[in-house]
Subunit: 596 residues, 2 copies
């Protein structure tokens, strides 16, 4: 159950698909070129492989526990988090002004993947801190940020996101937690929040809750939601910790997976009111929360890639070791390692192609984020922002959905052993299933894709990306190798299927919303498939050139094969999905409600 | 978490797709017409809904336990099994000569589905007894059968199948358990068997192990394997229980699911040798075991349908109760039950279509089994046997693979609540994952489909079935309704895709085994998709006629909608799979072994 960070594949993407040297030309990232990326990734690999990976199975066996209001992390987690913080990993992507390292997301995302591969339950804690940091950076006042940001960025304190309530899951309009203004400008917060990841624990001195609540008299629905900071311990003027605030963990959930990550029920204000501080302006809470959610959604997509990578590695190891049956082609004289069986190869290649494809997609999205936020040219920023925003629901939705397939295949490769908990691979299957749910289910991602990302601009962003894909197709045709031509054929068919669906979505969202939303998740899956396949096609072009030049042959040849497999076996499924969406919408909603 | 047996859907299949009245014309099944089916199914529904279903979650919370060699079933199981046995459910499909009821599989399969929906862990115990009974009926001597059959068929004793050893999973050639002949004609058995379902427990007085072992001096490989009966307690001449035999449970596994079903490690002969009795002839054990495995494989396919049905029901219930967000079409004035959201409907319809499709496929396969075994006409028997044998790997492989999709969607419908164990739906997700593994993994099923069922007769059986499908297409076209035409289009495309793959398989298995086996599981999935879709198309023809005649309108209209959905969303994916198989075989095995 060891883990080896795929540093080489990550650097390939960072160099060739994300063009790190172009990012390094942006003044804010002056030193963040390939050398920096390599140095950071190698350091991250060391930490995650050595410190966090061995604790992953421990967390499943000895979940973080709750007793008398106290949440105690899995043995070893507290010490590991101290090391994580002291090494500066929490601040990797955050501004130097507050003690961070200010590295581009293009590099940071790779480190986050490693952390999640090593230990997804653990990684959720810094992931949520990142969200809180983003929200404060976006909308926090100077006073608030002065108190909280450095502590969060250094990992001295951790952060949480408090959205969900029993009656308000995907539907945030139903949030009821309320905030009463106090004369000193602070608020008293009352309510119950559920599903709060790392909402209580013993790994840090303080916990900074970012909480959605309604100020008395606020409008109904999402337009009356504000965002507050509610610290577990109040902070004195000198930065030292003061009184315990009135927010208490009353229980943690008994979950199918990510058992080391406590999922807390938090009670606000049962003893007079929890002191909270408004972030930004009243009633704009959802807007700010979306900023931290978008960061978190991208990160959850990376979790999907991460757990897929870990599951793939364990399946490869098993299939090299497990001896069973003679290969059908007679290539061995007797029973041999099962990696010699074509169907085991098909499973491993499927796992690998999905994982590499999604990693490539996520890395290019990260580079767009970096350009969108820091490029000196406004038009470049705008174009990159549109690209990034289009990609976020795909990175989140597609990468997590594929992680269900990949972790299932990982169990399958193990046969009966896979079903035995001690083998460890079942943990990935159980852990992964939360990824398609939290930070917005796949359906919520697909609503975003349909509404904000496609229908709103009449499909223009989508079509612009399709135009870029067409350029890649032309490059494949120009290259003319057998692999490039085969990939071009599948890429074109998938792109045309995508364009049909984009037209269907753009043309019908207003007039026939049921028809469009009946196909919203299939649209997301088709789009994610295409975008990952496109990046694999770009990777193939780079890799075939390298092979032709005799550079890094083994790695580059493997990349060519994986890209070809992706096109043959995954991209090839796109046109069927188009048919289901465009021709099949009526049968989705035709059933009478009482016939279910 | 209640369960309501889908008696109406089952009877629809039994009447219209399996043509029970034709089966009732077979002398062996003289009284087994629709009325009998209805009476039996209603009785089964009562028992399974009332007695077994409430124990399902109990089994997950309080797994069957092991202490000091004693295996104690989940509280309530022992009493439930007594009721099960006393009501005669174990003997439903078994010969009246030994106390059974001799009902056709067409009826029995529906009862087995109910039992597995109600409580899959429990149902495994009678499922394995069925396998043991089949093996004895096939090859047991009169003496052996006189001792064991009645006790097994009455549920007084239970049976097991002992195939797997640590080094012999899918590869039975590697079996090492050995049997030494004794002068009295019995044998002493020595060895270790693992993954033995209900291999030890306290629900019955005796356990009859069917054990694969090698007689000293037998040939290497699968041709040297014999089958033995090894009872937990030896049986005296008068049928009473004698001495404890030398087979002992040394541990049970800690599994991801089916936790109430003990998975035993059995040690044979540690104290001098376990007494065993040869079944049939020496060295023909695998042949006999395949008979019981084929019965068990069909039954495991039914388990997939069963758990999908249960998961679907829980998802429907939740989606009616859970209030969240206003529907996108504005059909409700405010937030309403999530069943109103198109994507929830898509998930429910997907679950329902898969479940009904696989049930229809399994039911028609069962009727072929009945005709194959009992029809007076030899040619009819032969044709039905070929059909049934073709369907077994599809019923097993496709129905279990789809159960992974369906149980995953069931969790997804529940959102965050689905990930909390107390909700109960996560159990189905965890339970289902064993189904694609035991009784032969999906890859093993696909090897059977490719080798014995397709390549061996040059694809003739497959093409014959395709011819029957073409007839259904013609009926759809003749019917001429919009739904029939839409379904015909998808059915034809899927059939043509299937035929391409059949030609590919039949033409290449010998010359290019790697290419064919690289696509064997996708072939199985395509074939299962087509066969289920075909039966749904047949169902649509029946249902549209009923609707036109004004009969049973709500049920029949729902069947039409589900059949249409199946065609639009599931059958429509078949051509893409063809492309992956026929055009994509090289990239499956092209990766250098050390590049993984």
């Amino acid at each position: 159950m060891s883990y080896t960070a795929p540093v080489k594949d990550m650097l390939f993407n960072i160099e060739h698909l994300a063009n790190i040297e172009q990012i390094a030309q942006i003044p804010a990232f002056a030193d963040a070129g390939l050398d920096t990326a390599q140095a950071v990734l190698e350091e991250a690999a060391k930490f995650n492989e050595g410190v966090l990976a061995p604790l992953n199975w421990t967390g499943d066996q000895h979940p973080t526990s709750f007793k008398d209001g106290v949440v105690t992390a899995t043995p070893g987690f507290k010490e590991a988090f101290k090391q994580y913080a002291e090494a500066g990993w929490q601040g990797l992507q955050h501004p130097a002004d507050f003690g961070g390292q200010g590295l581009p997301k293009t590099i940071g995302a790779a480190c986050i993947e490693m952390c999640n591969s090593a230990n997804m339950s653990f990684a959720l804690c810094p992931l949520l801190s990142d969200g809180a940091i983003e929200a404060l950076l976006t909308a926090g006042s100077d006073e608030l940020n002065a108190v909280y940001l450095e502590k969060l960025i250094s990992g001295t304190w951790t952060g949480t996101m408090n959205l969900t309530e029993p009656q308000a899951g995907s539907d945030l309009a139903a949030v009821r937690t309320r905030a009463e203004p106090l004369p000193d400008g602070s608020y008293k917060v009352f309510g119950t929040k559920i599903f709060i990841t790392w909402g209580e624990h013993d790994m840090a001195d303080n916990i900074v809750h970012l909480v959605l609540a309604r100020v008395q008299g606020a409008p109904e629905g999402v337009k009356g939601i504000s965002l507050f900071v509610v610290p577990k311990f109040l902070v004195n003027g000198d930065g030292s910790l003061g009184a315990r605030n009135d927010v208490h963990c009353v229980s943690i959930e008994h979950k199918m997976g990510i058992k080391a990550s406590p999922t807390a029920v938090l009670q606000y204000g049962d003893h007079g009111g929890a002191i909270g501080y408004l972030v930004g302006q009243e009633n704009r809470g959802l807007e700010y929360m979306f900023i931290m959610m978008n960061a978190a959604r991208y990160a959850v997509g990376v979790q999907g890639i991460a757990i897929a990578e870990r599951a793939y590695q364990q399946a490869v190891t098993f299939s090299r070791d497990r001896i069973q049956s003679r290969p059908v082609d007679g290539s061995l004289p007797a029973a041999g390692p099962i990696i010699n069986h074509p169907d085991v190869r098909r499973m491993l290649m499927t796992m690998r192609a999905y994982t590499e494809g999604c990693r490539a997609m996520a890395t290019t999205a990260a580079s767009a984020y970096d350009a969108a936020h820091h490029h000196p040219d406004a038009d470049t920023r705008k174009a990159n922002q549109a690209f990034y925003e289009f990609m976020v629901p795909l990175v989140k939705g597609y990468s997590t959905e594929m992680s269900l397939t990949v972790t299932s295949l990982a169990v399958q490769v193990h046969g009966g052993m896979g079903y035995i908990e001690e083998t460890g691979v079942a943990q990935y299957y159980r852990d992964a299933k939360i990824l398609t749910i939290y930070e917005g289910t796949t359906a919520i991602q697909s609503n975003d894709l349909v509404g904000r990302k496609t229908a709103r601009d009449g499909g223009q962003t989508a079509k612009g990306i399709a135009g870029q894909i067409e350029t890649t197709e032309a490059e494949l045709l120009a290259s003319g190798t057998a692999h490039a031509l085969a990939v071009a054929k599948r890429l074109k068919a998938a792109r045309l299927a995508f364009l049909d669906v984009v037209d269907f979505v753009a043309g019908n969202t207003k007039a026939s919303p049921n028809a469009v939303f009946a196909g919203s998740v299939p649209y997301l899956m088709l789009a994610g498939n295409l975008m990952s396949g496109w990046q694999m096609a770009r990777a193939l072009l780079v890799a075939e050139k390298a092979v032709a030049a005799g550079n890094d042959m083994a790695f580059m040849q493997a990349k060519v094969t994986t890209a070809r497999f992706y096109a043959d076996h995954i991209l090839s499924q796109a046109p069927g999905v188009r048919d289901a969406i465009v021709d099949g919408s009526e049968s989705v909603t035709a059933m009478a409600l009482d016939a279910f």
